[in-house]
């Protein structure tokens, strides 16, 4: 059985055209390479450039 209120909460506002610029800047572009680099930096393992 659906809960109308709960379901309604799942709907988020959609991105408008005026907000594209901000969204581009706020986009998280980190990937696995960055993650591995962080791990290696924390562990003190020298990384190849």
């Amino acid at each position: 059985m659906l809960n109308y209120e709960e379901e309604l909460k799942k709907f988020k506002p959609s991105l408008e055209v005026e907000d594209i610029e901000d969204a581009v800047y706020q986009e998280d572009l980190s990937d696995m390479s960055d993650l591995l680099k962080q791990v290696m930096d924390r562990s003190g393992v020298p990384t190849r450039s």
Binding site: L2, P13, S14, L15, M32, L36
Partner: protein, 492 residues
């Protein structure tokens, strides 16, 4: 293996997975896979471009633009994202409409939070009309319809949402909820739950929702046959009442036309026949006149011939007068010309007296020896030449000769002529006596009534004539005859 390569492989693997899902319109799954691909390698331009395309396909144009812009930043050349962005920039009008739809959608979320579902529904209807591939708008609208109990509209919205994203979890869940709610409603109405069976069919066409009663298969099959039978009957009735009379009328008109033509032809032929008949009659009359003229001409010719012959015979002194008289009797004096008539008269004056004498003597001799045929012939010629020859004696004996040889009619005619021409003579008395005897003989014989009637006709005439003369003897005779006549009449 170098870990960078592994990362690349993983990134490509999830890109491929996302591509497969995108190809079957599993946009939700494609987004997950492509995001994972980008998590492995953010510079996977293909994955990012495809992700933007997937976002564009489900109506999230702004998100798509973000991905394409980022993709272009990673690779500015040989990047299809440039073309995508160029197309979007060139269609400012469509982009504006999409933006308006997104704004309405965002406004609807505020309405829903405020409890104004009616306003939200109105705005969402406008949004989906402006942006028909806006998945989230369809889902939100379906949720609102489900909440309002408008299951038909909800079903329609979910149907459109499934077209855009076949495996969207929210869409599938709403569809399941719809089925559950619909079955519960059917049970509450007392009817057996028959998924897919409903008395009405609701479907959406644009912004309009159409509700039609579900057609019954039973009614369709039985009613179809009945309708076909009814249609056949109506067709037969139309043919019988409309087409057949028209056909018959046309045939009758054709027949009337032919009859009219034949009548006209008959009339014209009758006219021709009457004209030809008139022409034939005129020809006959002409021919009769021609024939009469021919006969007259022949008679004239014969008359002239006879006249010339007689003239020659007379001049030759070689023929007897009776012979020449026979020839002259055949001459038609009226057909002769003036000179012909003069010659005729001359010859008649010279021949007839002698011929009468000869023929009269011969006739009397024949009469005396009871040769009544010869005497009648000769006396007939004499009478023709001179009716009053011998004071009527020739005429009298002609009548007597005819009577003696049995020709009562001719005898009566000649005897009456005697009485007529020579009434005061003894010949007339004799003629009267003979006429009485003839009448008596006629009344005595069978079938003599006609003769008697003729004689009765004659007797009054005779009595009339006798009275007209006014002499005493005649009056006595008439009285006697008048006295006798009634007796004869009584006998008759």
């Amino acid at each position: 293996m170098d870990y960078t390569k592994k990362i690349m492989y993983h990134s490509n693997y999830w890109y491929n997975d996302g591509l497969k899902r995108a190809q079957i319109r599993d946009t939700s799954g494609a987004i997950v896979s492509l995001r994972r691909s980008l998590q492995y390698n953010r510079e996977n331009v293909a994955a990012r471009n495809l992700l933007g395309l997937v976002y564009y396909g489900r109506g999230e144009v702004a998100e798509a633009l973000v991905e394409w812009i980022i993709s272009r930043n990673f690779r500015q050349r040989d990047n299809i994202a440039n073309e995508y962005l160029r197309n979007i920039q060139n269609s400012n009008r469509e982009l504006g409409a999409v933006n308006q739809a997104i704004k309405r959608y965002n406004q609807c979320l505020a309405y829903c939070a405020q409890g104004a579902e009616d306003m939200a529904v109105i705005q969402l209807k406008r949004a989906v009309s402006m942006h028909p591939t806006f998945l989230k708008a369809y889902q939100l609208l379906a949720l609102l319809y489900l909440h309002a109990g408008q299951y038909a509209q909800a079903r329609q919205m979910l149907k459109e949402a499934r077209k855009l994203d076949t495996t969207n979890e929210m869409t599938l869940r709403y569809t399941q909820e719809l089925k559950r709610l619909h079955g519960r409603k059917a049970r509450q109405a007392g009817r057996p739950e028959e998924p897919g069976k409903n008395e009405v069919v609701e479907y959406k066409r644009g912004n309009d929702t159409l509700i039609q009663p579900r057609p019954s298969t039973v009614r369709r099959s039985g009613g179809g046959f009945l309708n076909m039978l009814l249609g056949m009957l109506m067709g037969a009735a139309v043919v019988w009442f409309l087409i057949a009379p028209a056909v018959q009328e046309s045939k009758a008109a054709q027949m009337n036309k032919e009859i009219l033509e034949y009548s006209e032809r008959i009339g014209s032929m009758e006219a021709q026949i009457s004209a030809q008949t008139r022409m034939l009659d005129s020809y006959r009359a002409t021919s009769a006149d021609t024939e009469a003229a021919a006969q007259n001409a022949a008679s004239t010719l014969d008359s002239y011939e006879n006249l010339m012959n007689v003239s020659d015979q007379y001049d030759s002194r070689g023929y007897s007068e009776d012979v020449m008289a026979d020839a002259l009797l055949n001459v038609n004096r009226d057909s002769l010309g003036e000179r012909g008539q003069a010659l005729y008269d001359e010859l008649v004056g010279n021949i007839f007296p002698y011929a009468c004498r000869i023929l009269y003597n011969a006739a009397m001799e024949s009469y005396n020896v009871a040769n009544y045929d010869l005497s009648a012939d000769n006396l007939d010629k004499v009478v023709r030449m001179d009716e009053g020859y011998e004071g009527g004696n020739a005429l009298l004996h002609l009548g007597l000769s005819c009577r003696r040889r049995g020709d009562g009619e001719a005898a009566a005619r000649h005897l009456n002529r005697v009485v007529e021409l020579f009434p005061d003579t003894e010949y007339a008395n004799t003629a009267r006596e003979e006429l009485e005897a003839i009448a008596t003989e006629a009344s005595a014989s069978p079938g003599s009534e006609g003769e008697n009637s003729e004689q009765e006709g004659e007797n009054p005439e005779q009595s009339g004539e006798n009275q007209g003369e006014g002499e005493s003897e005649q009056n006595e005779e008439a009285s006697g005859e008048g006295g006798e006549d009634p007796e004869q009449n009584g006998e008759n």
